[in-house]
């Protein structure tokens, strides 16, 4: 009995382990080695730390990273503020019958790829686009306005892209909140804000934190939306990595940036967990 169990475990685990090792661990080791190598001017390859030092010496690199991280945090907070009432409405206010319906509506845009969604936004917002067309037609504007290629447009696009990943954990955590607690609080004379900050939010913290982690990571690692909607001002850190690999042929530098992104974003998340007093093991459950 015991040996057969072990065999079946081995049997089912092998593909997963192979997958993890061959497709994730091995390439990362290769990249890590690459990030410590450099081609010298006379064509030799040497061990060096200069790829990492470059990041700190060149203001353009770390400034881009800081910018990306700050914008990602803004996007995460905005997404939370927008989706929290939505999640509360879906779980507590509408009847059970409509819950599925609302979830489907939220899911619907995610049935098409991110690229298509971004292009959809671009058609709406561009100078000769749909929104400008109607604003001109109704006389609200005299000249068309370029709505694309601003930081605010980019943030809007990123929030839109990441909403789903915040809604789902929030809904699951709010569903476990006993309605009786809210009713009891009302009976005892608490007002809406008290209930929100003393009962609902403390209960929802694990969902909030896990949603925030997912959204932050997705936004930080996004390439398409900043590039297409942000336009000329939107140097995102991922784009910098892409440029190092593709335009400059400097894979060593690109690999170093990749690992810096991994380390620095982990630090941001660690700081976030510390501040909210949560443990990663609880949050990812």
């Amino acid at each position: 009995m015991k040996t057969s169990l072990r065999w079946s475990l081995f049997f089912f685990l092998t593909p997963v382990l192979l997958w993890l090792f061959l497709l994730i661990v091995l390439p990362h080791i290769d990249l890590l080695i690459m990030s410590f190598r450099m081609d010298t001017d006379d064509g030799k390859t040497i061990w060096t730390l200069s790829n990492y030092l470059n990041f700190f010496h060149e203001p353009i690199y770390w400034l881009t990273f800081v910018r990306t991280a700050v914008y990602s945090i803004i996007v995460t907070l905005l997404t939370l503020v927008i989706t929290f009432p939505l999640a509360f409405y879906i779980t507590k206010v509408v009847g059970l019958r409509f819950q599925g319906f609302f979830m489907t509506i939220i899911l619907m845009p995610f049935w098409v790829s991110e690229l298509v969604r971004v292009y959809g936004w671009m058609i709406l917002l561009r100078e000769s686009g749909v929104i400008n067309h109607f604003l001109l037609k109704f006389g609200l504007l005299r000249h068309p306005v370029e709505m694309l290629y601003h930081d605010s447009t980019m943030i809007m696009g990123l929030v839109y892209t990441s909403m789903l990943f915040m809604v789902v954990p929030l809904i699951s955590v709010l569903e476990s909140l006993d309605d009786g607690l809210i009713e009891a609080a009302y009976d005892l004379g608490a007002n809406m804000w008290h209930i929100l900050f003393k009962i609902i939010i403390p209960h929802a913290v694990p969902g909030i934190v896990s949603g925030c982690i997912v959204v932050f990571m997705l936004t930080l690692g996004n390439y398409l939306t900043p590039n297409l909607m942000g336009g000329k001002n939107s140097l995102w850190f991922t784009e910098q990595i892409y440029n190092e690999f593709i335009a400059s042929f400097n894979w060593n530098q690109g690999a170093a940036f990749g690992f810096l992104l991994l380390v620095l974003s982990s630090l941001v998340i660690w700081a976030g967990l510390k501040m909210s007093g949560q443990k990663l093991s609880q949050v990812v459950q």
Binding site: D41, E58, I60, L63, T64, R126, E127, S128, E146, L148, Y149, N227, G231, K232, N233, S234, L235, E239, Q240, N243, E244, F245, I246, A247, S248, F249, N250
Partner: protein, 355 residues
């Protein structure tokens, strides 16, 4: 009962193996958008029975893709002639061309010789020319009648109506427009870096005037069509496509010289269908097929006989935009030495990050 099923399965399995083996190996082509039209592919498949699978890309991604696999995954690639020799020296991603398998008589002799010379590595050449064209300005002449040179990409008069790519041709073009010769400084990395920094500073200063940095040719054509952009740096073929739809828009060979490029055919090192690749090259370079391509994309090819079969309207494009002086002034890209890309990449990042 069980044996019967087994037998059926066995027969089925044999069939699939046989059918896989007998179907011709497909030709995996790594090329630019518009370089392998459905019309040509269908004709080729009909003639040879070889299926063509096309992947669209650009020079930089082409090199990165082939470098990642050490030259595997594709059977034929179409890099620009100036981006072959240094890449080949460093990464060994191509294999030498066997010119005896190519009907070299179909090619314009001088162009073939130039490409052979520019792609020469250790005594072997790595490419044959396919098509050529120039980068210059595409201008909406009704809105910007005076745009004549790359410097108009930095001109306040066209604020918010300017678009160009954040890629090396823009740097090279602006360097020429600022009165310098970047090609002469290719061999001197320090001088080249100083020049590029000067160009980068000019671009950063003029950044508020730019509408966007285009990355996709179709998207640029769309914004020129809708009047969102008046002055753009782009390829002549794109400008001529727009000219056909709207005579106000046309390609302009800039005063400091249009940048001439030649895109080629090169064989990736681990090409699995070399025979098919040579067949495709010979097929596309037949005058009538090359003319089909030119009529659709407006780019001239290296096929000698094609010029007689090209539509008069397409032929007129070149005559209209390139008087004798402009032709003589075309700056042809010499082979790019290694390591220049890193210098350019940093400048381009700085421009993009600037406020």
């Amino acid at each position: 009962m069980n044996k019967k099923i087994l037998l059926i399965l066995l027969v089925l399995a044999t069939f699939t193996v046989v059918s896989v083996a007998s179907a011709a190996q497909p030709l995996r082509l790594l090329t630019w958008k518009g370089y392998a039209h459905k019309e040509l592919i269908d004709k080729f498949t009909k003639q040879t029975g070889i299926e063509v699978r096309v992947t669209y890309t650009n020079n930089e991604e082409m090199i990165a893709k082939l470098r990642a696999t050490r030259g595997a995954g594709f059977d034929l690639a179409q890099p620009s002639q100036d981006r072959i020799s240094s890449v080949q020296k460093k990464y060994h991603i191509y294999q030498p061309m066997d010119y005896s398998k190519i009907k070299t008589g179909e090619f314009i002799a001088s162009m073939l010789a130039a490409v052979k010379k520019n792609t020469l590595v250790d005594g072997k050449s790595y490419a044959v020319p396919f098509c050529w064209g120039t980068s210059g300005l595409v201008v909406n002449k009704k809105m910007a009648p005076d745009a004549k040179d790359y410097t108009d990409l930095l001109n306040k008069k066209y604020a918010g109506r300017i678009s160009y790519r954040l890629k090396r041709p823009t740097l090279i073009a602006l360097a020429f427009a600022l009165g310098d010769n970047p090609f002469a400084k290719y061999s001197d990395a320090a001088a080249y870096k100083a020049l590029m920094e000067k160009v980068g500073a000019a671009m950063i200063k003029a950044k508020p005037l730019v509408k966007n940095y285009w990355t996709n040719g179709d998207a640029l054509l769309q914004s020129m069509r809708s009047g969102e952009v008046w002055v753009a740096m782009a390829w002549d073929g794109g400008g001529w496509k727009l000219h056909k739809e709207n005579p106000d828009i046309d390609f302009v060979a800039p005063k400091s010289g249009a940048l001439g490029w030649i895109d080629t055919f090169a064989l990736p090192a681990k090409s699995k269908n070399v025979a098919g690749a040579y067949k495709w090259i010979n097929f596309v370079m037949q005058p009538e097929n090359a003319a089909i391509f030119t009529n659709l994309e407006k780019y001239a090819t290296a096929s000698k006989g094609a010029i007689d079969k090209v539509d008069p309207a397409v032929k007129a494009n070149f005559k209209r935009c390139f008087p004798k002086t402009a032709v003589d002034n075309i700056k042809w890209y010499p082979p790019v030495p290694a390591r220049l890309e890193a210098i350019e990449g940093k400048i381009l990042d700085k421009v993009k990050a600037a406020r």
